[in-house]
Amino acid sequence: MMIRSVDVLKAGSLTTVQDRGRIGLAQLAVPRSGALDAPAWRLANRLVGNPEDAAALETTLTGPVLRPRVACHIAVTGAWSPVLVDGRPGPWGIPIWARPGQVVEIGTATRGLRSYIAISGGLAVDPVLGSRSTDLLSGLGPSPLRDGDLLPLGTQTGPPAAIDYAPYPPPPTELKLRIVLGPRHDWFTDATLAAFTQATYTVTTYSNRIALRLEGPPLQRRHTTELPSEPVVTGAIEVPSDGNPLIFLNDHPTTAGYPVVAVVAADDLAACAQARPGTTVRLWVRPAAMR
């Protein structure tokens, strides 16, 4: 019986396997990981007929060159990356039928940062602690793709989506993030908080799957006492001692020792996943529902 697999001719700049991540293990210091732009990842899976939470590839700016050994469907979503099939332009955002031996190249994104590449059957690398996701902070899960890798595929379970076009909002060119203040916003003066929510920040090149690191007006604390380490959520905006805020993304450590001034709304995290260095960031306070 043919083992379904795909050759990785070129890995791309940083391509990893991602699914929904490791849930329920944060109390053991295991980061969540998983696809940073979850809606784009799920759409890619639906387009090729996979269960929504099948493992897929997440690219960073420049994608891989793949050569499937079996006939399969492939779909690319998320960042706008050019797709070439045997050197000819192929479609983005809808299922592509690839014959064995065809070369599918996902190029450099022109808008957004991370594309998701789903292949029918899903990626069947061995799971670690219940997930196939690569965790770049702890080193759990498969290593990032390397040139020459051979990726196993699962069995196709459903038909690809029979559509000509899947409408999807384009990756944003600037971030407008809704935030809920707290839990440690009382570590900052009202004037500091007002300035924070009125300022424009910029995503720096030091950003990655662990955090978006922002440049802009630093936040000054009221006092310099140490905060005992406390658990943090994805989307938390932490303010380290230099005052430059950072937004935790999926590979963030489970506890942190600096105050979290606010948390980005879960629905705005996909936009964070697509933010290239240089993207401007504005923050909009949503009132906390509590007293």
Binding site: A26, V233, T254, M290
Partner: protein, 214 residues
């Protein structure tokens, strides 16, 4: 001992739109509330949650569909003091030859031999995990036996290093930079993702450090 009403001892802070941070006075209170949460979870009396994460003075509950409603429910809980866990005891064979032993002895106003005797005679307990998979913040030393972190962290601390910071003992699962005070080294497999359970030390595990050689 009487149960404490949660409203008297817990400060509840909203975290984003799906989580709550419960803040308590100290590790004993965190432990008692964590045990109560896990008991209710096992009994099916807790709303669906994705994560329950204890830390030094807080517990985070993440993945709540209705955090406000849960916050109101929690304030009515009666939380009994935690009984002694029978989660088993892990013995950690330790060679007490760490580079910062004398520093610790100065802070504790003891000789290094007395530091070792104190550390090895106490029954410790894992308060919480953080920093990296396999890293446990282990509590149990007498309250006067604390140390600050090193003013200059080391760039490379070997795996297996037993170290102190604040009120906690930690054992480094992998080589890494570190600012904790080194008191010894242990040969234990703290973390193996292919083992069940993957982590040797999880919140509530009791720990004894057993001195090797003298």
């Amino acid at each position: 001992m009487t149960s404490a009403s949660t409203a008297d001892v817990v400060k509840i802070l909203p975290v984003g739109d799906r989580a709550l941070l419960l803040e308590l006075d100290g590790p004993a209170e965190v432990h008692a509330l964590h045990v109560e949460i896990e008991r209710r979870r096992r009994d099916g009396r807790l709303p669906a949650v994705e994560e329950v994460i204890p830390a030094a003075r807080t517990i985070l509950i993440d993945g709540l569909a209705d955090p406000m409603r849960f916050a109101r429910e929690v304030t009515d809980w009666q939380v009994p003091p935690a009984e002694v866990d029978d989660r088993g005891l892990v013995e950690v064979p330790t060679i007490y030859d760490g580079a910062d032993l004398e520093q610790v002895a100065r802070h504790w106003h003891m000789t290094t031999r007395e530091v070792i005797a104190t550390h090895a005679s106490v029954e410790h307990r894992v308060a919480f995990c953080g920093f990296a998979p396999g890293f446990a913040y282990i509590t149990g030393l007498p309250p006067e036996c604390t140390v600050p972190r090193r003013a200059n962290p080391r760039t490379a601390v070997p795996a297996g290093s037993v170290a102190l910071a604040g009120e906690f003992t930690g054992i480094y699962p992998r080589p890494s930079p570190g600012g904790w005070q080194l008191i010894g080294r242990a040969e234990v497999s703290l973390w193996d993702p292919n083992r069940d359970p993957a982590t040797l030390l999880s919140p509530g595990t009791r720990v004894r450090f057993v001195e090797l050689g003298s």
